[in-house]
């Protein structure tokens, strides 16, 4: 079937197209060049006056894995406010803060998203992450596997094993967990919490291993680079949420010594200690450091006001923040000498000074970081806000008047502590397309996604241009996934299954000998039963794997 999308205004940063009227041809799920010989168009869409972008990619969203299911089980009252009935096309479920898997897929697609990446796949919980994502329709998905608080890595470091041994272990784990990236959460901190340490600064030693977060970051960032993984080490830094943590963040940037590093939900790591409440914005300094250090990418983790739930691997910090739980219930877990998790429901209030300033800090960060290829639009779903708030966030970025109107309603002391009102920048459509499409695909290392030139998979979103950007982005006219029309007028009309994106870096097979000994001696599962096989994702006939190439390593 040949589909022609005629006359739309195309924003395709991947090929440098910025708001140009052009036709797009789709055949067998992919975008093709205009056929040179005679051809018959099976279906044509007149897109004159419409905005055409590739399908959006959420590069950091908690959509699969145990902590999400704990959050769901914890919050029946939240689901009850947003029940979703089945239709002849769609399954039923629930929405809002911790939506069910099917509703996650539908609602992302209904906003023009065609891929989402789970950033915190615990190796021991990888099966669950992939099984949950396997029940998310329409979207492509993938995961970043979490390392850094696992006892095996810390033992390697204490034993002064060389970088090659670390690289092999990281590559082995990525294969075992079917990952496309590597994440570290509160480096070594989740482990330190098990030894009753309640905080762990960048240069503070784990009381048992004597290893510091700085060392962990360095060896993991090096490993990711040396084994050729496109996505830089994905870092949830030390001291999340602690006033003054901007210094830690700046030190983390300096300390990585030019290695590629992605700092995630940086808003939660950009706090100063100035002012009457000893809580201030560090966004300007953080943005300055990011602008200067081209090896660094970030996503923001914007907070937006309202009820949500925070679900994190960082049980050390989640435990420290449990007193803010709203409603007052929370869960932490220590997990399998591997990692941990913490789930704390949260209600961000615009009349709460800290929350209001967090909101402003996130926006300052968006607006002060200059290069849209190195910053990504996230709320750290659901931690800062549910992903369904993205159209509102896009309006805040693209519409200064609207932004300042909202700013004038938040806690007055927070208004005084932010430079937001003076920032004139408004994001362009092309910059939004970079952050949510081309840049994200490039950062993750997705081949043939995130662009609209021939050879790309036909993940395409079409909007009606509207000065109210929230309205525009919350209801696309059409969404195509792999060339199939899945959404019309902001509603799912057809569902399909996306693929799971992975990389499969090589490793020295001999490391499995030591791993087997370790598993047999200390863990509760045989090492061969721990490793996921490809057919676990594909055997139900719905899932598929897309293996991406690694970078050539110098």
């Amino acid at each position: 079937m040949l589909i022609k999308l005629t006359g739309g205004t195309v924003y395709d940063p991947a090929s440098g197209v910025d708001g140009k009227q052009q036709d797009i041809y789709v055949q067998d799920g992919k975008i093709i060049n205009k056929p040179t010989s005679e051809f018959l168009v099976d279906k044509e869409y007149d897109l004159k006056g419409k905005v055409v972008m590739s399908g959006a990619i959420d590069m950091h969203t908690h959509i699969g894995g145990g902590k999400g299911n704990i959050a769901r089980t914890l919050l029946p009252e939240d689901h009850r406010n947003d029940p979703v009935a089945s239709t002849h096309i769609c399954r039923s479920g629930c929405g809002h803060a911790a939506p069910s898997t099917f509703i996650t897929g539908y609602r992302y697609a209904e906003m023009g998203y065609t891929a989402g990446f789970e950033p915190a796949v615990l190796p021991i919980n990888a099966r669950q992450a992939h099984m949950e994502m396997g029940d998310i329709p329409i979207l492509d998905k993938g995961g970043y596997v979490m390392l850094g608080s696992d006892d095996y890595l810390l033992r390697l470091l204490t034993a002064k094993k060389d970088q090659k041994a670390i690289n092999d272990y990281v590559a082995w784990t990525m294969n075992a967990a079917k990952a496309i990236g590597v994440k570290v959460v509160n480096p070594g901190g989740i482990n330190a919490f098990k030894f009753n340490q309640r905080k762990l600064d960048l240069d503070e030693q784990n009381s048992h291993y004597g290893v510091t977060p700085r060392e962990i970051l360095r060896v993991l960032a090096t490993a990711v680079k040396e084994i050729g993984v496109s996505h830089p080490l994905h870092v949830h830094g030390c001291n999340l949420g602690v006033p003054g943590n901007m210094e830690t963040t700046l030190d983390t940037i300096q300390g990585i010594g030019g290695l590629p590093m992605h700092l995630t939900h940086i808003q939660f790591h950009s706090y100063g200690t100035e002012g009457d409440f000893k809580f201030s914005s560090g966004a300007a300094k953080i943005a300055e450091a990011i602008n200067k250090n081209k090896n660094i990418t970030i996503d923001v983790g914007q907070i937006l006001f309202g009820q949500t739930v925070t679900a994190s691997g960082d049980n050390m910090r989640q435990h420290a923040n449990h007193k803010f739980a709203s409603p007052a219930k929370w869960v932490t877990m220590d997990i399998e000498c591997d990692a941990g998790c913490g789930v704390v429901p949260f209600k961000y209030k615009d009349q709460n000074f800290v929350n209001a300033l967090q909101w402003a800090i996130g926006l300052e960060t968006f607006l002060l970081v200059e290069d849209p290829w190195r910053i990504f639009l996230t709320t750290d779903h659901p931690n800062g806000a549910p992903f369904t708030s993205y159209p509102h966030l896009i309006r805040l970025l693209m519409d200064r008047t609207f932004r300042n109107d909202v700013l004038s309603t938040i806690h007055p002391e927070a208004q005084k502590m932010t430079t937001l009102a003076s920032i004139e920048r408004e994001y362009t459509l092309q910059e939004i397309a970079i952050m949510t499409r081309a840049g994200a695909a490039k950062l993750i290392g997705l081949q043939n996604r995130g662009g609209l030139s021939a050879g790309n998979w036909a993940d395409i979103t079409i909007y009606t241009d509207n000065v109210d950007r929230q309205k525009m982005f919350e209801k696309p006219d059409y969404v195509f996934k792999d060339g199939e029309l899945v959404v019309v007028d902001g509603k799912v009309v057809h569902t399909k299954w996306g693929t799971t994106h992975v990389v499969k870096p090589d490793y020295d097979k001999s490391i499995e000998k030591d791993l087997k000994t370790y598993f047999d001696k200390y863990l509760t599962m045989k090492v061969d039963n721990f490793k996921m096989s490809d057919d676990e994702i594909t055997e139900d006939g719905r899932g598929s794997l897309t293996v991406h190439e690694l970078k050539a390593v110098a």
């Binding site: 615990l122 399998e336 996921m532």
Partner: protein
């Protein structure tokens, strides 16, 4: 004949995966590392291989069509049991969504005691490998741990640990039920301390223990036969331990509002964490209970007692209980799904009944449709959750029985109904 090693078990809940199993045609024998739970569950023989309609053997297709015809015009069916693997639960939930059924896991009344506590105040819990490597004090409340999981001590406590020099030194304390054997005595001969009371009295005992932990003054000298001095000692030990673990089995807390006991335990664990580390560890989740709650959790937002009657999932831990629905005459058909345990029988009812269950069922009243299915981890691959609710184990296929999977059967029924609803 073949021998398969490192076989994981979906039966015991603790995710044992070191079984060696001999397969001879359809006959299975556990050769190594069996226990009183796993060995009979694996060795259970296949007797039925054919589906039946009203006792008459029929083809699988006929049984599926008949099941679909029974369900077609129901208003309020209930799918009970819900004891199968992840894919089986996926199929079960798709069918429930299609026909507007109640989904109710057979063991939910026990799981509910934990879930209500979780949903009211939460907890700080841990998993098996953390217990194995860190636990220096295990407080067992109202549970016979070795009766629950015969190999628990051997596998997780009395062997090498990363962070304990001598695992034989671990403190084991029983509060409530006393142990049924000596598995809790360490290899060096250190015996568990047992403070016995009847489980019905645990609410008072646990409440006093928590009060002592928080430094409250207690006027009484004993509570339900346990001296305050002994309870004070337990409290001090919890505070002195580096990584204490408090475990309980909701299934053994058989008295009204046992969720309050679970909550007191969980809140006490949080209290201990003000100064040192301590974790809770609920025992449960055999034969697919956790699997049911997990898959239902991500598919609906709720644990596995959900109604789809209104077109969207509604959760009520009390109203949607199968026996209540049957006794009150609220439902109009019963589907029983249990791929693990042929001894678990569906509740008695005169309603149209469809049983999708393990081969070898003995019925007091033959159901309208019986479809024997393969057992996950024996007849087909699959996934099942361990009791700690974090680790999903990859189940192996051990033999070619030709029995269909739960998911194949339920998906096929759903498919028939979907096609009919479109026509």
């Amino acid at each position: 004949m073949s021998e398969i090693t490192e076989v994981p078990s979906p039966f015991c809940g603790i995710g044992t995966d070191d079984l060696t199993i001999k397969v001879d045609g359809l006959k299975i024998s556990v050769v190594e590392n069996g226990c009183t739970v796993n060995t009979p569950a694996f060795e259970h023989e296949i007797t039925d291989t054919k589906a039946r309609i009203n006792s008459k053997e029929v083809s699988l297709k006929e049984a599926i069509l008949h099941a679909a015809s029974l369900l077609k015009n129901t208003n309020y069916p209930v799918i009970a049991g819900c004891s199968t693997d992840v894919n089986g639960m996926r199929g079960l939930l798709a069918l429930a969504d299609r026909i507007g059924a109640v989904v109710d896991n057979a063991n939910f009344n026990n799981a509910r005691k934990n879930i209500l506590a979780l949903q009211d105040s939460g907890w700080m819990n841990t998993t098996l490998a953390e217990i194995k490597n860190r636990c220096d004090l295990l407080l067992i409340v109202g549970a016979d741990l070795e009766g629950f999981a015969p190999r628990f001590f051997e596998k997780y406590l009395w062997n090498e640990a990363m962070f304990l020099e001598n695992t034989s030194d671990r403190d084991i304390i029983y509060l409530g039920t006393k142990p049924s054997g000596n598995a809790s005595t360490s290899p060096s001969g250190k015996a568990a301390q047992v403070f016995e009371c009847s489980n019905e009295n645990l609410p008072e005992v646990v409440a006093v223990l928590r009060a002592l932990l928080k430094g409250q003054q207690i006027q009484a000298e004993s509570v339900e036969g346990i001296s305050i001095t002994d309870l004070t000692t337990i409290a001090e030990k919890l505070k002195a331990a580096k990584y204490g673990v408090v475990t309980w089995a909701a299934g053994a807390l058989n008295y009204p509002h046992a969720e309050l006991t679970v909550q007191t335990i969980s809140e006490m664990v949080k209290d201990v964490n003000q100064t040192t580390r301590c974790s809770g560890f609920p025992l449960g989740g055999k034969e697919g209970d956790q699997t049911a709650n997990q898959v239902c959790g991500w598919t609906t937002g709720y644990a596995a007692r959900v109604s789809f009657t209104k077109g969207y999932p509604e959760y009520d831990p009390f109203l949607f209980e199968t026996n209540e629905l049957l006794n009150n005459g609220e439902v109009d058909a019963l589907i029983w799904v249990n791929a693990f345990n042929a001894k678990a029988n569906p509740p008695q009812t005169n309603l149209p009944t469809i049983v999708v269950a393990r081969s070898g069922m003995t019925f007091e009243k033959e159901p309208d449709v019986f479809i024997p299915v393969g057992t996950p981890g024996i007849d087909h691959t699959g996934h099942a959750y361990r009791l700690d609710n974090v680790v999903a184990i990859r189940l192996k296929k051990l033999r070619d029985s030709g029995l269909p999977n739960t998911s194949e059967v339920l998906n096929a029924i759903e498919q028939v109904l979907r096609e009919e609803s479109v026509c």
